[in-house]
């Protein structure tokens, strides 16, 4: 994958002046509303401390709590599946659906299924997947990923939505009335709820103590997806665990206040058992999370509850739009977790930050976001000179193999090198065509050691 050039892509977004201006203003409004909610809760900082402590406790005992969750869910009659990566997740979901002859799946918004690129996978296999959240549906119909983890189409204006709907669901061309547009989508989506054979949601939390999957939504679409069709599947990342209901209360108090400046969302729903005559499945997805747990500088990013507050407050995110990150997760949280998925592709993202620290300040689970951004910059800066060395070495090798004279010289030098001539001396001597610029500083690791390590890291990612 080629490197995402965030700065260039952000310029494209800024060229849409009206969109860019609205985007900045709307997200800042949410930040202000969040501050107002915070001011009304005297124990706000204590809640953040607790939320952070609960997550750190849970993550450092994640194996035990996952087993507890699984046992309780199974006792409740839920089928629990484990998926190592995106491919396995998609295969599990497809198997469950196809074994039951499902042709249409209605689903609520889930960043995890975006992460797994589940929709195209299922659609290629003949299953119609309908996003039922208004913002997510707009993005699906426009063939774009969500640009914000809470408000998927926040980068679009009513005119954009009107065009998408006129083109795809037959709304009146030119009608830009927001009530009309929302109603058009509601009316278009309703029959899917009634006819789909399966429904799917993500999960904001899962509770070990009760085996519950918890969704926090406002449109009613998650509850319709789970409560109308007979078959219900929930896909959740393994980091979404909380031990007890008492802990859940803390997160529910923090989540909507942080996300949209609202005391709670319309529907805080807890799914524990299949409905009578129905079926419930939970897919627990790793997809890199257990590896991230071992990254000393970055594991606390797993505390994230995906509230989006760090995005709303980030001046760079607000002014560049989520799509410019070309990643499932944009904004400050994206800058610290996207590189764990693909360091090369996302190596620019940690630089898309002013380091003002406001992300860290608003984060309800107290992730040191801006410090992690800084640490990523160091990691990337260190790695960056390595590909340069690698490039040069390859180029030199190419010339050597192409020239019998140089090849013989190289062999001689290699023997010399074996007798103690430092490596960089060989490069210097073999590099007469490169004297116009400085020879790269010798890497701490030898090229081969680096190459092996790097290869391994990439193989594991792919």
């Amino acid at each position: 994958m080629s490197r995402v050039d965030h700065a260039v892509l952000a310029k494209d977004f800024l060229a849409l002046e009206a969109n860019a201006e609205f985007h900045d203003r709307r997200l800042w409004e949410l930040r202000i509303k969040r501050d107002q909610q915070m001011a009304m809760i005297p124990e706000w900082q204590e809640l953040r401390d607790r939320a952070s402590a609960i997550k750190e406790h849970t993550l450092s005992n994640l194996d035990r709590y996952l087993e507890e969750f699984e046992a309780n869910a199974q006792r409740n009659g839920v089928n629990v599946h484990w998926a190592r990566d995106a491919a396995e997740h998609n295969a599990i979901v497809h198997r469950v659906l196809s074994e039951r002859g499902v042709r249409t799946l209605v689903k609520s918004k889930s960043m995890l299924t975006e992460e797994c690129e589940m929709r195209p996978y299922l659609e290629e296999r003949g299953i119609t997947v309908i996003e039922t959240d208004l913002g997510e549906r707009i993005q699906q119909l426009d063939d774009e990923p969500p640009s914000h983890i809470v408000i998927p189409a926040v980068h679009k204006l009513r005119g954009d939505v009107s065009k998408v709907f006129a083109r795809t669901i037959g709304s009146e061309p030119g009608n830009e009335d927001i009530h009309y547009l929302a109603k058009s989508q509601r009316d278009d989506t309703r029959p899917y709820f009634l006819n789909a054979e399966a429904g799917m949601t993500g999960g904001n939390f899962i509770v070990a103590e009760t085996g519950a999957v918890v969704t926090v939504t406002n449109e009613g679409n998650a509850d319709l997806s789970a409560n109308v069709p007979k078959l219900y599947i929930a896909s959740v990342g393994i980091e979404k665990l909380v031990p007890r209901l008492a802990d859940l209360a803390i997160f529910i108090r923090l989540l909507s206040r942080s996300a949209i400046g609202s005391p709670i969302s319309q529907y805080t729903s807890h799914f524990r058992k299949p409905r009578e005559g129905g079926e419930m499945h939970v897919v627990l997805v790793d997809n890199g999370r257990s590896d991230r747990l071992g990254m000393a500088d970055f594991w606390t990013s797993l505390k994230c509850i995906r509230c989006g507050a760090c995005m709303n407050t980030c001046p760079v995110y607000r002014r560049s739009g989520g799509l410019s990150y070309r990643a499932v997760y944009a904004g400050p949280i994206g800058a610290i977790i996207d590189p764990t998925f693909d360091l090369r592709k996302y190596s620019e993202l940690p630089f898309a930050s002013t380091m003002n620290g406001s992300c860290t300040e608003v984060c309800p689970v107290k992730i040191n976001i801006h410090e992690q951004i800084y640490t990523w910059r160091r990691v990337i800066a260190e790695q960056r000179q390595l590909p340069f060395v690698k490039r040069e070495a390859m180029r030199i090798a190419g010339r050597i193999f192409a020239s019998p004279k140089l090849y013989r010289l190289a062999l001689k030098l290699q023997r010399l090198a074996a007798n103690g001539l430092p490596r960089f001396a060989i490069y210097t001597m073999l590099n007469p065509w490169g004297h116009h610029r400085e020879v790269p500083a010798p890497p701490a690791q030898t090229f081969n050691a680096w190459y092996r390590a790097n290869r391994k890291a990439r193989d594991e990612q792919s």
Binding site: F22, A53, I54, H57, T58, S60, N61, L62, D63, L66, W82, A83, R84, D133, L134, G135, I151, A153, V154, K156, I178, A182, R186, T189, R190, F193, L194, T210, E219, G220, D223, L224, A226, N227, V228, L245, A246, L248, A249, I250, I252, R253, I260, S262, P263, I264, Q266, Y267, T268, S269, H270, F271, R272, K273, L284, D286, S290, L293, G294, W299
Partner: protein, 199 residues
């Protein structure tokens, strides 16, 4: 090795070796239900466009609902206190509720902090009743008004219900330009009627 084993093994290898005890839950006291608590509930629910009505003295809930909807639309009630045009035991598939105008049920309790009501399959009987109908009426005994979410999560219902929802207002969206629309995919209005359980 199964994926389950592999994931657990990787977690065991990678989990941070830190001493992070689980905080003891925040203690709470149960406040007596006062007018102020009811007002707090009403104000909180109003943020979400939910209405809270008192039952006028001497009036039955049935009479109040008939007054609210004099045109007698298709109504399905999950509480025996209200007789509707469509008895809930006759509902075979949740999809059938899509043609119903009004759903009625009684909540197990309310939460003043957020203006929420608790519903589960016990209260809804058919869970989709809370979502597929156009308007929802929820009866709530003011005596079971809790103060905080912390208190709500200590209720036994969360440990027994197969499906449990803290419902706060009608469905809504602000996904287009932040403009608030009540009636997204679920119900378009929500009315809470404060009244003790009849009979």
């Amino acid at each position: 090795m199964s994926s389950r084993e592999l994931i657990l093994k990787t977690i065991r290898r990678n989990r941070p070796a830190i001493d992070a005890p689980l905080p003891t839950p925040i203690p709470f006291t149960t406040a007596p239900v006062t007018m102020a608590l009811i007002e707090q509930f009403r104000t909180a629910l109003a943020i979400y466009g939910g209405k809270t009505l008192e039952l006028p003295a001497g009036m039955s809930v049935q009479a109040l609902i008939d007054e609210l909807y004099p045109e007698r639309p298709a109504l399905c009630s999950a509480t025996r206190e209200i007789v509707g045009s469509h008895p809930i035991p006759a509902v075979n598939r949740p999809q059938e509720l899509a043609t119903i105008e009004i759903g009625v049920t009684r909540a197990a309790f309310g939460v003043a902090e957020t203006g929420s009501v608790f519903l589960s399959e016990t209260e809804l009987q058919v869970n989709a009743l809370g979502y597929l109908v156009q308007h929802l009426i929820i009866l709530l005994d003011p005596a079971v008004m809790l103060e905080t979410l912390q208190e709500a999560y200590a209720r036994p219902e969360f440990r027994t219900a197969g499906y449990a929802v803290l419902m706060t207002g009608p469905s809504a969206t602000a996904d287009i330009e932040g403009v608030l629309i009540r009636g997204a995919q679920g119900v378009r209005s929500l009315t809470v009627i404060l009244c003790p359980r009849a009979g």
